[in-house]
């Protein structure tokens, strides 16, 4: 293909590195997301271990106060924005087209663009450690402590990093929302979509609608810090509470963005290994939608102690507790899925069952501080830290691990070792409970969060030590996963197309799937298409000889545009000239992108 005016030739080389850099294949992008996010997860985990080491004993002096504050801020930012969200992205990148029976996503290059922007945004955020200190005012960056008067350049990295990551997530969310609506296989109606797809779909809309609110808040913060406005600064007439509202209008939907993909994974794993269809499919789907909607009406429960007012407290406590109802419906349906089953306990199933139990614990403590008077005694104590880790580690992270064990054979063609897997699970499970259950006690004993040290004699010594030990056991569990991956990587692919006898469409193709996903896009007749084929003795149809499957060619432009976005963001951090440089790079990239032939 001749070069279009003023653009580079489409990549043709087969070099490994370039083929990954220019790839637009959703499976490869999913893998990129997964590996990158897992590395960030290890970074976030090491940050957590440092925190726990410092807090192991009273008056610890492993790290100083300033560093501690950077650590817990970066720990949360890394885990939320660079680990759990992109791990979800890894799954939905890899799985959505396979599960709905499509050859790729609706906009393959946009998909690559999302990944590269995510990578650059993540690097910006993490690089703050070397450039004058990381953000240090907590992941929700309350004002005015995050204003230029009270905090250093770390918060600029926070603003820019989150903005860049926001662009990435928005692009991905648009892409996948369209893909799910528009690229379903024949017969794949909305009410036949796997629950994982449904949850992803809801998450996409939460992202699309919540991110702009965060972006606006960040823009205002940027103006406060870099220019002369005072949106949030009281002495200039601004209002620090406005930041809290804007942040949590985003922030609460965000926590459902983190948990819903995990709920989706579990809704796939439980029926597969119970060998029966999901109990109450429709109820689970509608409960998911209800959670998505209600999630918009509860944000002020993070602000019960800011002087909200009685009626506001009453309203927000009711809406918050109400979320327990659809969530409860899900929990009960998951349990009922196990009921009457013939449960095969693989590692994936262990993680899924543990998810149900641990998430419930976290949910219950959530409902406890949904009562404003109770929250007055729990807000900003370790009780909250316990809540968030039960839902985020026991919930989101366990969901991710369940998904990893479940889909690993599909993605690599290799089964993970089950013995190592059981070690992995039990260490993580025990470690997780040892680390986070005592935090309830600490909270009840009045231990505040975000303190870099504490005196002995307050009754906090013992449980802090237990928590630290638990954290290290948890880390050991993660280590077993890494070992498992390395060990099984040596083996020959042995998984077969459908090692679990699972019902959904991704198992109807080979493991790992061919570049074009399906030779022939199958026709879907039920919610469990593969079981349907099994029970009706159907086989996947052979491709007609001579048909040519059209696949989008690789492209340089995603990474070029992402680089432009990076320059744009680096401007406010170093020299505005970089921003000026970024604009032409982006324009050049878009120009080449639109002219590049995609056929």
């Amino acid at each position: 293909m001749a070069t279009a005016a003023g653009t580079i030739a489409a990549p043709t080389t087969e070099s490994v590195v370039w083929s990954w850099i220019t790839t637009v294949d959703h499976k490869r992008i999913g893998a990129l997301y997964g590996v990158t996010a897992f590395i960030f997860f290890l970074i976030g985990g090491i940050e957590a271990l440092l925190i726990r080491t410092q807090l192991a004993v009273p008056n610890g002096n492993v790290i100083n106060a300033e560093l501690f504050n950077q650590l817990f801020t970066m720990h949360a930012l890394t885990m939320i924005f660079l680990a759990i969200m992109p791990l979800g992205a890894a799954f939905f990148n890899y799985m959505v087209p396979l599960m709905i029976g499509a050859r790729d996503v609706a906009f393959p290059r946009l998909n690559a663009l999302s990944y590269w922007i995510f990578l650059f945004g993540g690097l910006v955020l993490v690089s703050s450690f070397i450039f004058g200190g990381a953000p240090d005012t907590g992941w929700f960056a309350y004002q005015p402590i995050s204003s230029s008067q009270f905090s250093g350049s770390g918060m600029d990295f926070y603003v820019i990093g989150l903005m860049i990551l926001g662009i990435s997530s928005l692009a991905a969310a648009l892409n996948f929302a369209v893909t799910i609506i528009n690229l379903r296989a024949p017969g794949m109606t909305m009410m036949r979509l796997p629950v994982f797809i449904w949850m992803t779909f809801i998450v996409m809309f939460l992202l699309i609608l919540a991110l702009p609110v965060l972006t606006v808040a960040l823009i205002q913060m940027l103006f406060d810090r870099q220019f002369t406005t005072s949106f949030f600064l009281p002495e200039g007439g601004g209002d620090p509470i406005l930041w809290q509202h804007l942040f949590w209008v985003f922030g609460h939907p965000e926590v459902y963005i983190l948990i819903l993909p995990a709920m989706g994974v579990v809704s796939e794993v439980l029926p597969t290994f119970s060998r029966k269809p999901l109990f109450g499919y429709a109820a689970i789907v509608f409960a998911g939608i209800a959670i998505g909607f209600l999630g918009w009406a509860v944000w002020s429960h993070h602000m019960f102690t800011t002087g909200l007012g009685a009626v506001q407290q009453a309203v927000f406590s009711a809406s918050t507790m109400a979320i327990g109802i659809p969530t409860g419906i899900k929990v009960f349906n998951w349990l009922a899925t196990m009921w009457g089953g013939s449960i095969r306990f693989t590692t994936a199933m262990y993680f899924a069952v543990a998810f149900v139990a641990l998430f419930t614990i976290g949910g219950i403590s959530g409902v406890m501080h949904a009562s404003p008077p109770v929250d007055q005694q729990q807000q900003d104590t370790y009780f909250i830290v316990a809540h968030i880790h039960y839902v985020l580690v026991g919930g989101a992270l366990f969901g991710v691990f369940s998904g990893l064990y479940y889909w690993w054979p599909k993605m690599t063609g290799r089964l993970l070792n089950e013995t190592l897997g059981k070690w992995n699970f039990w260490l993580m499970f025990i470690g997780m409970n040892l680390a986070f259950f005592p935090m309830h006690f600490l909270g009840v004993s009045g231990m505040p969060r975000r303190i870099y040290t504490y005196d002995s004699g307050l009754g906090w010594d013992f449980w802090n030590l237990v928590a630290t030990v638990g954290a290290f056991i948890l880390a050991l569990g993660v280590l077993f996963f890494i070992i498992n991956v390395f060990k099984t990587w040596q083996q020959e692919p042995d998984a077969g197309d459908n090692p679990w006898d699972a019902p959904t469409l991704e198992w109807a193709t080979t493991s790992p799937p061919p570049e074009h996903d399906f030779d022939v896009i199958p026709e879907v007749h039920s919610r469990e298409p593969v079981w349907y084929m099994r029970d009706h003795n159907l086989t996947t149809p052979e491709p007609e000889p001579g048909t040519h499957i059209h696949l989008p060619p690789p492209s340089y432009y995603p990474i070029i545009i992402a680089f432009g976005v990076l320059l744009l963001g680096l401007g406010p951090l170093s020299h505005l000239a970089l921003t000026a440089l970024g604009v032409p790079v982006i324009i050049y990239g878009i120009w080449g992108w639109t002219l590049e032939p995609t056929e």
Partner: protein, 371 residues
């Protein structure tokens, strides 16, 4: 293994868990004896909170135990076994309705007392309250008792300013107005008052009445629990609840001017103090009584702790503090003062290079004599 065997195992486990649950509860209850416990109320406000907490707690416990047992039982009972076929069902309407109704009921039972307490605690403060303004600053608390100072020359009541230690009278309602100078802090005395934030530019308040029987020698602990910078961990305060007599005695002393130092060393310290420290601190009744950047030190010698509840009040700690406060509270960094010239933060600086060790000793002696 047969089904019965498994059933037996699961039942045994279920029983064990039932024993474990009270054990967990026991552990939770031991939190009571901890000095900063949130579940041993000593005022009307915290008792009202405790009332809701207990309802919420037991309901949560019920859900917790039920779900844990159910999960465990299902996992054990429906384990794959030779000859077992999974039942192919898709749902069960009546069951689904049932487990929608139960959570609705639980939520309603939680909401009613919640709303009740919200209404009670946000009503209006009692007429006869003692009014105290608590101001959060990086990283200490200033307390201003409205109208309790000595009357001025014209006989008008003045306010009484003190820091980091709050003295209350059992049975006497207090209305606390919450302010912040720099960033957001919060006011929390787990046993006496639920947390409310101190937000710059906003006027929050809370009120409570310490129980008649809450009088005790040792202090109730209070703490800032809203992240406020490097030394957020070091921003504490203490609350003493007296009977009427004790309170009046404290008040009598606190409102009067500073006592004259008696020792030679103390007298030397007094003169040094006026030169070195008066730019920030006030000691009423001396030449050092204009500045109000730092805590009022008029009766600092009568406090049990210094530096916002972090150090015991004794000479050696005072010396350490004056020599280099940043050593004790990270983030106390005079360099931060120059970020915005118009609104200096006025962190206390280190004096070890400015004042000789002997002189610091003298100042410390003086401060301990300010009973």
């Amino acid at each position: 293994m047969t089904e019965e065997a498994l059933l037996r195992i699961s039942q045994r486990w279920a029983r064990r868990l039932l024993i474990l649950a009270p054990a967990a509860l026991f552990i939770l209850l031991t939190a009571c004896s901890d000095p900063q416990t949130t579940i041993e109320p000593a005022s009307d406000m915290t008792e009202a909170i405790q009332g809701v907490y207990e309802i919420v707690f037991w309901l949560s416990m019920f859900v917790f135990i039920a779900i844990m047992l159910l999960t465990l039982w299902l996992a054990v009972h429906y384990r794959e076994q030779p000859g077992r076929e999974a039942i192919q069902i898709h749902g069960h309407q009546r069951l689904e309705i049932l487990w929608t109704i139960i959570p609705v009921a639980i939520v309603l039972i939680m909401l009613v007392p919640t709303w009740q307490v919200i209404a009670d605690t946000t009503d209006t403060p009692p007429e006869d309250s003692m009014v105290i303004t608590a101001t959060g600053k990086q990283w200490w608390f200033e307390f201003t008792y409205e109208g309790l100072g000595l009357p001025d020359d014209e006989g008008n009541p003045t306010d009484l300013v003190t820091a980091n230690e709050l003295h209350l009278q059992a049975g006497k309602p207090v209305h606390v107005l919450l302010r912040a100078d720099d960033v957001i802090h919060s006011f929390w005395i787990p046993q006496l008052a639920g947390k409310v934030d101190m937000v710059p530019g906003h006027e929050n308040d809370l009120w409570f009445t310490p129980f008649e029987d809450s009088v005790r020698e040792e202090a109730y602990l209070g703490q800032c629990v809203e992240f406020c910078g490097a030394s957020h961990a070091n921003m504490r305060f203490r609350v003493f609840v007296h009977d009427e007599e004790g309170f009046n005695a404290w008040l009598e002393n606190e409102r009067s001017d500073a006592v004259e130092p008696t020792s030679e060393l103390g007298k030397l310290g007094a003169t040094l103090f006026v030169v070195r420290c008066a730019e920030c601190h006030t000691v009423r009744g001396t030449a050092a009584s204009i500045a109000d950047f730092g805590p009022d030190l008029t009766h600092v010698g009568s406090r049990t702790t210094i530096a916002a509840g972090i150090l015991d009040n004794n000479i050696s700690n005072l010396v350490d503090w004056i020599s280099n406060p940043a050593e004790i509270k990270p983030g106390i960094n005079p360099e931060n003062d120059v970020i915005d010239k118009e609104r200096p933060l006025r962190f206390m600086r280190a004096f070890e290079d400015e004042i000789s060790a002997e002189d610091i000793q003298a100042i410390a002696q003086y401060l301990t004599e300010l009973k």
